[in-house]
Amino acid sequence: MRRVMLLLLVLCLGLVIPPSGQAGESIKIGLAAAVSGGSAASGEAIKRGIQIAMDEVNAQGGVLGGRKLELVIRDDEGNPAKGVTIARELVEREKVVTIFGGLHTTVALAQVPVWHELSTPYMGAWAAGTEIARNGKSPNFVFRVSANDDYADKFLVRYATEVLKKSKPGLLLENTAWGQSNEVGLNKWLGQKSIKPVGIEKFNWNDPDMSPQLLRLKNAGADHIIMVANAPEGAQVVKSRAKIGWEVPMVAHWGISGGRFAELTGDLSDGVAFLQTYSFFGKQNERGQAVLKALKDKYGVKGPEEVIAPVGTANAYDGLHLVALAIAQAGSADGSKVRDALENLKAEYKGLIKTYKRPFTPDQHDALTDDDYIMVVWKGGKIVPVAMK
């Protein structure tokens, strides 16, 4: 009996514990992402990007007259219902000004109504599902410094047709909402070039072997593969490709950068091309060097090969700076005002990925389009840019 009371007491205490940090002083920015489970590595990358940018902003005096920015993180466990709960918790209890999001398209989609109900801006740093930002709401509270599947698919198709000069694509997609979103996009952009995929094959997370799918695509006469996968599955695809001895060019969406793709595939990764918004390899601009240094100092990342899911970090980094500028422009921590400021950002921001001039407009909530993407390829465990001519 006493034990029951004790247990219940612990729980009640937890409920009345005030939210973290010194309230009132700092301005809180939330992060709702998968911190546990299969995509956790990419969630970690986003967190790092935000934190590094935040440290820079705070080092220069913070916002709104010296108030520091503070990051509050919650785990959505890849579950949409959980995503909605933490969304409300972050806004209602923690009183965050803006929330950065997450990895899963379904979670983001479930949260879209909540951002609008609670008038809190959302800055996506990864989930690329087209309808997240293009959600038909006005005013639209969802912003993104990330890939948009529609643009991404346009970009991939362009590469395959204009650079590789191939015309018989085999699509290999993961069997999730993200894969589904890309199936739509790829069919659309291929259709614009009057091309129909010779086959569309799917696979599930944690699948060990994709040889049957590849064999079917091979038998259907595919001359290149367009792949939408995360790192572990992408690695298995590449290994399966080697198993069946099929040397076919591969073009992939950015998912494979969300893990240790090169380590998992060994030298089989050579030649796999994929899209990124940014690469930490090669010559870095000033910001890139600063970020790499911060990654090393804070997180022990020794060099660009050790940066996991670099796009998460890059997107989130720029995203946070834009949000900070918006807060400054709005002159307040009110969600609606910050939203309006983001949509009409006056300041020019020389960011990591590019220079942002009026990144968002009422019709365009994706700061990056296919003009900003880059195509890179693995070579000897390093990522090397590839020309898009």
């Binding site: 944690n206 080697a242 198993k243 240790r260 380590e263």
Partner: protein, 289 residues
């Protein structure tokens, strides 16, 4: 393609069977099981990774060290999550082993990291090509080792004195106790053995599946299905069921689609149980009236 599918199916299936034997061993000794057996597979892979890649130990040291640690893990699990509830005749061990699984996965995530890592192996470097199909030597090694181990476990139970004692516990715990067999120790041994078998499966699968803190759940689930359709009380049934399930999965994924794989696989499980409610070779529990 057929050869490809058969090899993959045999490899995965024999591993399901090996892990499923773990369920069988603890069930027949104590009528309990580790509902998070899959996490033991993950632990095997993760611990082996820590020794082999992290510390750079050679394989011949890594494997035994991993197995010892896994056996300790099994014993600890039994002590903490099973024994307190075993006498009380409640199903609480079910929940406590699930809770242990949650803890294990998240501890692994903290210590091992959140992304999947590669487990290097000479046998997965170059594929062997036969006709239009290819497979890694590891995929051939797995069923061989798996079947040998399963055979070994069978021999142990049928031929050695201690093994026979353990079987006695299975048939009649009271009588076995009266004959001087130390029941708690027998149960402890069962859990240690069961965890070690799962650990071996983890080590064997690591080069093929990659090592990740989340790798265990689905394997544990399918191994459970295999244990059930083989018959929880029948080791040969489990071996057959394991290989069978692996092959079916492989063929369905290969000839139908990956999406259908789980649906068809688990629908077959239900079908088998409708036709043979206690598994293919399992014994119907006698109803005492």
């Amino acid at each position: 393609m057929l050869v490809q599918l058969v090899v993959t199916g045999l490899a995965l299936g024999s591993m399901y069977g090996l892990v499923a034997l773990g369920y069988h061993i603890t069930w027949v000794t104590s009528r309990t099981m580790n509902f998070s057996q899959g996490h033991a597979v993950m632990a095997g892979a993760v611990v082996a990774f820590a020794f082999y890649v992290g510390l750079g130990w050679p394989l011949w040291a890594t494997v035994p060290a991993t197995l010892v640690l896994l056996a300790i893990f099994g014993v600890a699990l039994e002590r903490v999550a099973v024994r307190p509830f075993f006498r009380a005749a409640s199903a609480a061990w079910l929940l406590s082993t699930i809770a242990c699984g949650i803890i294990a996965e998240n501890v692994a995530m903290l210590l091992f990291g959140k992304d999947a890592r590669a487990f290097p192996s000479a046998l997965t470097q170059k594929p062997i090509l036969v006709g239009g199909a290819g497979f890694y030597a590891q995929e051939l090694l797995i069923p061989v080792v798996g079947l040998l181990l399963m055979g070994g476990v069978q021999l142990f139970y049928h031929r050695t004195a201690y093994g026979k004692q353990l079987k006695a516990v299975a048939y009649n715990p009271e009588a076995a106790g009266l004959m001087g067999i130390h029941i708690p120790r027998a149960v402890m041994f069962a859990y240690a053995l069961s965890a070690s078998l799962a650990g071996i499966a983890g080590i064997l699968l690591a080069p093929i599946l990659n090592v990740a803190a989340t790798m265990g759940t689905i394997i544990g689930l399918k191994a459970f299905a295999v244990a059930i359709i083989g018959g929880l009380t029948s080791a040969p049934g489990i071996v057959v069921a394991g290989v069978g399930y692996g092959l079916v999965e492989s063929f369905v994924a290969g000839y139908l689609s990956t999406g259908a794989r789980e649906i068809v696989g688990f629908a077959l499980v239900i079908l088998v149980l409708v036709v043979r409610p206690w598994g293919l070779l399992g014994a119907r529990p006698t109803r005492r009236v």
